[in-house]
């Protein structure tokens, strides 16, 4: 690969991440897997604040509450390996601004979304150039927001939404074999956070929307340690993948409570084996979507509060 001349490159031979001795002897694991301390339908707290970046038309900063194990590890550090991580991201909105001259006429507001992980955001160092998963996230976010924005009010204009992820969610527990279930479940939590934060930033930029669109995640997890998975997987809201042995299926939605509509849905995995309460005749995927919508309602409450705060601030200034 060609060295990137516009950045400062490390040693040409490449470097290796540190290997910890406790990882090598997995028979006696130094730290046990983080356990979920919350109820199945209990959500993590979200810290959301708007208007922190004055050079942008709108901005927001979002942080998930650290899981119980992470909070304990922070308060009383023993191991250098963090048990889990908590999402932290900053979102800016620039615009509406005129489209470049070279652009074709558009009767609607043209949305551009851009999501980038900081190199230090995840357990594995990320590159400086966006990879496929980051581009994929950008498309998801665009779909989620475009349904909420009333785009025909800004013909011939563009809106740039940029999200920098300072700390991402884990895809699995760090101690699990890297391929035990390699789907990128953490990405779904990141997307839910991006949707909520972007929605707050758009409101901060005073762009007209149908409703504040909020993101939520639900998953079917199986936590039984026995290898015979006769116990059916359980439905949980706002799952932290680091806290579960195996995630079978997960779903993220972008949801507008006022219209009871979903602008973005991303569901993957096998949801057919969900165990629901008796008398619940929903299929697995329906239950999963409903769960994600419930999680999104929770995020919406935080979102509405943050937007009201930002509005009061604007009114106070005027």
């Amino acid at each position: 690969m060609m060295a990137d001349r516009r950045r400062i490159n490390g040693p040409p031979g490449g470097t290796r991440p540190a290997v910890f001795a406790s990882n090598l002897q997995s028979g006696t694991s130094a730290t046990d897997r983080a356990q979920r301390q919350r109820q199945p339908s209990e959500l993590r707290k979200i810290f959301l604040k708007t208007g922190l970046i004055p050079t942008a038309s709108g901005s927001s900063y979002l942080e998930f509450e650290p899981s119980a194990s992470l909070a304990a590890a922070r308060a009383n550090p023993k191991s250098l390996i963090p048990p889990s991580s908590a999402l932290k991201l900053a979102c800016t909105v620039h615009g509406p601004k005129p489209l470049p001259r070279s652009a074709a006429f558009s009767p609607n507001l043209v949305l551009t979304t851009h999501i980038k992980y900081a190199p230090f955001a995840a357990r594995q160092r990320k590159g400086h150039i966006r990879d496929a998963s980051e581009r994929d996230l950008g498309v998801h976010l665009e779909t989620a927001l475009r349904g909420a924005i009333i785009a025909e009010r800004w013909p011939k204009s563009g809106l740039d939404i940029t999200i920098t992820i300072l700390e991402a969610e884990d895809d699995r527990w760090w101690g699990s074999a890297p391929d035990s279930h390699d789907a990128s479940w953490g990405m779904m939590n990141v997307l839910a956070g991006c949707i909520t934060a972007a929605s707050a930033a758009i409101a901060d930029a005073h762009i007209d929307c149908l409703d504040l669109v909020a993101g939520g995640v639900a998953a079917l997890v199986s936590d039984d340690s026995a290898s015979t998975s006769t116990v059916a997987p359980k439905l949980m809201l706002d799952t932290d993948p680091a806290e579960h042995r195996s995630i079978l299926s997960a779903c993220v939605v972008a949801y507008m409570p006022a219209r009871d509509e979903i602008t973005e849905l991303w569901l993957k995995g096998d949801s057919s084996k969900a165990s629901l309460e008796d008398g619940d005749d929903r299929t697995g995927h329906e239950a999963l979507i409903d769960g994600a919508v419930d999680a999104a309602r929770g995020a919406h409450a935080v979102l509405a509060e943050a937007v009201r705060e930002s509005l009061l601030k604007t009114v106070g200034q005027a």
């Binding site: 997995s26 009767p107 609607n108 496929a132 498309v139 349904g147 074999a177 789907a183 509509e261 979903i262």
Partner: protein
């Protein structure tokens, strides 16, 4: 450039006038009996021609052409690769500690890895890092590696990922190259997905002659090569010719909702007026013989980017020519918004949960669209 920017996840914005869009929408949203421009029923696919094994240099290949002239070619190549896992590079030399690790290492190696399947999509007019190809390849790859069989089934227990494991130290790496040969007239997902499905069905891996953990070597006789997705053998397969007990590659269906109607395999004009667009990946559940959902993704409907029509009451040139009572906004039950009948409004908002449930149900139900498509592809003569 800006055209492509707008065309992020949902193909190009169609160049239809607001009047044309409005006409299309009202005929497609006729309660119960939508009228499609090409006369198909809501669940009917476009006629297509298909052939397999067209590229001699690949392990499997297929070509599908739709009647509207769009066609795609998919080639599958397999290479043997050494399994390297970050933690296990160390553990391998580790004689002492290896004892406790044996079990974990074994299970890990059997698991297979999603990154062993590599997919690239080439669409004319798009760079390979543009949003559309990236979104399409992620969508198709995720259902492909996510398709896991049940534990009882023998060979394909862990789905495609496990099939690629040769032994603890070696695995197959699969390169799936998807080429769209024509301009993307409609959203190219159904075409690419069907072609990929067919190419994978026809993919053969050479028969392994080595045993157990030794370095793999293979029989060079192509005639005895084994299918990547095992097929029912002719002797036993007669009674069960649909092959329902075998894992099959997934297929991704494009479904739109217009008004209260649900329409499969939309063409370019139809997708332009869709209220909601979903890509639903399904596969056959090897255990129950029914269909199983693998993933759902919403696709940004291009109808959000269309130009609005102007009702007569707001049209300056028509001022006074029409009675104000003529166009009164009525509530569209599908979108929950006030609209003047016959005047196009770009779609906004999302999709109701009930609509999603209905779309998935139609795709999955016994004798429904999904089964029809899978059986149709199964019927393509694999020579």
């Amino acid at each position: 450039m800006s055209n492509q920017r707008q065309a992020s996840s949902a193909s190009q914005v169609p160049h239809l006038s607001p009047a044309e869009l409005s006409y299309l929408y009202s005929s497609l949203s006729l309660p119960k009996t939508p009228i499609r421009p090409d006369g198909r029923s809501p669940t009917q696919f476009r006629p297509l021609t298909a052939e397999t094994n067209i590229l001699p240099g690949t392990n499997g290949s297929a070509r599908i052409g739709f009647a509207d002239g769009t066609q795609a070619i998919v080639g599958v190549k397999a290479e043997v690769e050494k399994t390297v896992l970050a933690n296990e590079t160390l553990a391998r030399n580790d004689g002492g500690a290896g004892l406790d690790r044996g079990e974990q290492e074994g299970s890990a190696a059997v698991g297979g890895h999603g990154s062993w399947v590599q997919m690239s999509i080439e669409i004319p007019g798009f760079r390979d890092d543009d949003a559309l190809p990236v979104f399409l390849s992620e969508m198709m790859r995720e259902s492909l590696v996510g398709a896991v069989g049940t534990r009882e089934a023998s060979d394909m227990a862990g789905g495609l990922k496990e099939r690629l494991v040769i032994n603890k130290r070696w695995h197959w790496r699969l390169y799936i190259d998807v080429l769209l040969l024509s301009q993307p007239l409609a959203y190219p997902l159904p075409l690419l997905s069907l072609t990929t499905h067919l190419a994978l069905l026809s993919t053969k891996l050479p028969k392994r002659k080595s045993q157990g953990e030794e370095d793999p070597f293979f029989d060079d006789d192509w005639a005895v090569a084994e299918y990547l997705y095992p097929r029912p053998s002719l002797s036993s397969g007669k009674t069960n010719s649909t092959g329902s007990s075998f894992v099959r590659p997934p297929v991704t269906l494009l479904v739109i909702s217009v008004g209260e109607n649900i329409i499969f395999d939309p063409n370019r004009e139809e997708i332009a007026v869709a209220d909601a667009v979903l890509a639903i990946s399904i596969t056959r559940d090897s255990e129950a013989g029914t269909l199983k959902l693998l993933s759902i993704r919403t696709v940004d409907p291009p109808s959000r980017l269309t130009q609005p029509g102007v009702p007569n009451s707001e049209n300056v040139s028509m001022l006074g020519a029409v009675a104000p009572t003529e166009d009164v906004a009525v509530l569209n039950p599908a979108t929950g918004e006030e609209e003047v009948p016959g005047v196009w409004r770009p779609r906004r908002g999302g999709v109701k949960r009930s609509v999603i449930a209905e779309m998935v149900k139609t795709a999955l139900k016994k004798g429904g669209v999904g089964e029809e498509v899978l059986e149709g592809l199964e019927g393509v003569e694999v020579s």
